[in-house]
């Protein structure tokens, strides 16, 4: 059972890793014209029929196409991760259906898994003579897997999925809109990012933020982005403020953490956290939660898909609140971590010779 879940998580992660550049590319191309407009006090290009503002409006609309592809790419590459190339077709088609029929990311997940598993089943169970082998990936697998998706999502699950998705979206929208619930959300998601820095809990929060982009709900993604960038920045700050508390190796890691924080990679904090996880993980969680909640309470709003990293503030309405959130997060770690732990005297867990083999899980493919 546990293995099955790990496998599913892997498929989902593969899908997301293909989806990310699409979201980032699309949302940045939305953000850049919007920002230029905002500098001149223009909030919408719709009214312009010619000239520079018209062209910027055109560019922005291309960016929205990218954002609109999220379900399609997610479903397609989940299917690809499970059933290889022949599964892509059904995944794309199902993902596109998820968008048009308002089934959202849930629909995309169902489409991806259904296409992937059907394609995989076909490849493993259907045996044809060698003569006809080439028609398998080209005709049989795409036909069967797309048909399964069409029956499953076009008929059987269409109404329930649409209902679940619209209700879920309405509920999260309400939470994101009301200040109190958004702050609670920020506390929880910020702390989750700080727990295992790139492990399952961190990625669960990160995934929630990312898949909701497809629903045009941007607040959760903004919340996680604060903690993601703020935590590595915290260790960069710590190594700058308290040089004598760090070994040369970690001072180097601290320098690269400026970069990690700038582009938004929580994993930059791992080398530090490994020194004393028991003390440092709570500090990371506290900092993540505090940073995210500060951003929300100061009135930052995500009106377009937010981009991670320090420079992500350009995509946020009240971007200064985002930066203050980062600062709060970074300072909590920058000051508390070196006070709580002397990074000089302990060797990172697992680096010495007594590496323990027992809890390593290895499986054959």
């Amino acid at each position: 059972m546990k293995k099955l879940f790990a496998e599913w998580k892997g498929f989902l992660m593969s899908g997301i890793s293909y989806m990310l550049p699409v979201v980032i590319g699309g949302s940045l191309v939305v953000a850049v014209p919007k920002l230029i407009g905002l500098c001149f006090g223009i909030t919408s290009f719709d009214a312009y029929k010619s000239g520079i503002w018209f062209y910027l409006g055109q560019i922005e609309s291309v960016g929205w196409i990218g954002v609109g592809l999220v379900n399609l790419v997610l479903a397609g590459y989940i299917a690809y991760a499970i059933g290889d190339k022949p599964a892509l077709a059904a995944g794309f088609i199902g993902g596109s259906l998820a968008t048009t029929a308002n089934m959202g990311f849930l629909g995309a997940l169902v489409a991806g898994f259904a296409s992937g598993y059907t394609a995989r089943w076909c490849q493993r169970k259907l045996k044809v003579g060698e003569k006809f082998e080439s028609i398998m990936p080209l005709v049989v697998v795409p036909l069967l897997s797309t048909m399964v998706v069409a029956i499953l999502m076009g008929i059987i699950l269409k109404e329930p999925l649409t209902w679940v998705n619209t209700s879920l979206v309405a509920w999260i929208k309400e939470m994101s809109a009301s200040g109190v619930s958004a702050a609670t959300l920020a506390l929880i998601m910020g702390a989750m990012i700080g727990t295992d820095l790139g492990g399952p809990i961190n990625k669960a929060a990160w995934m929630a933020g990312n898949v909701l982009l497809a629903e045009k709900i941007y607040t959760p993604a903004m919340i996680v982005n604060v903690a993601i960038a703020g935590i590595p920045l915290g260790y960069a700050v710590a190594t700058t403020l308290f040089k004598q508390r760090f070994s040369t190796e970690l001072l180097d890691a601290g320098r690269s953490d400026w970069f990690m924080g700038f582009i938004g990679i929580t994993e930059g904090a791992i080398p530090f956290t490994l020194i004393n996880p028991l003390k440092l993980i709570p500090i990371n969680m506290l900092a993540g939660a505090a940073g995210s909640v500060t951003t929300i309470l100061l009135g930052a709003q995500a009106k377009i898909p937010p981009v991670g990293g320090m420079y992500g503030f350009v995509t946020i309405h009240n971007g200064w609140a985002y930066l203050v959130g980062l600062l709060v997060c970074a300072l909590i770690i920058g000051i508390l971590a070196p006070l709580a732990v002397n990074f000089n005297d302990s060797t990172p867990a697992g680096k010495d010779s007594e590496e323990d083999e027992d809890d390593i899980e290895i499986s054959f493919e």
Binding site: S17, L20, A81, E267, G350, I360, E361, I362, F364, E365
Partner: protein, 107 residues
């Protein structure tokens, strides 16, 4: 070639190279020859060739994601391990992998 390995993580920016370096370093310290490929957001880095793959004792995959170009490794044992284990205790991972491969082939 004692073994080949592939590391890959969702963002392909942090864990992938960290795990790859950890494995390379550990292999060198254990006196083993190894080649570690990174499958990150930038595509395939330090790509393992078919000849290298076929000469290796086994393939160690440090990832729970989809791995590209698996057809290169036809016929050699393939092992999967969590990428975090590769970063935290690369030596133990390599040791254990070698052991389970040896145990299986002696059966």
């Amino acid at each position: 070639m004692d073994f080949v390995a592939i590391t890959s993580c969702p963002a392909g920016l942090a864990h992938t190279p960290m795990a790859a370096k950890a494995l390379e370093k550990a292999a060198a310290e254990l006196g083993l020859t190894a080649k570690v490929e990174q499958q990150g957001e930038m595509g395939l880095k330090n790509e393992i060739t078919v000849a290298e793959a076929q000469a290796a004792q086994f393939l160690l995959i440090g990832s729970d994601q989809k791995i590209e170009k698996m057809d290169r490794f036809e016929g050699i044992p393939k092992l999967r391990v969590n990428i975090n284990s590769c970063i935290q205790k690369p030596k133990a991972v390599i040791d254990k992998a070698s052991k389970v491969v040896a145990a299986r082939s002696s059966k």
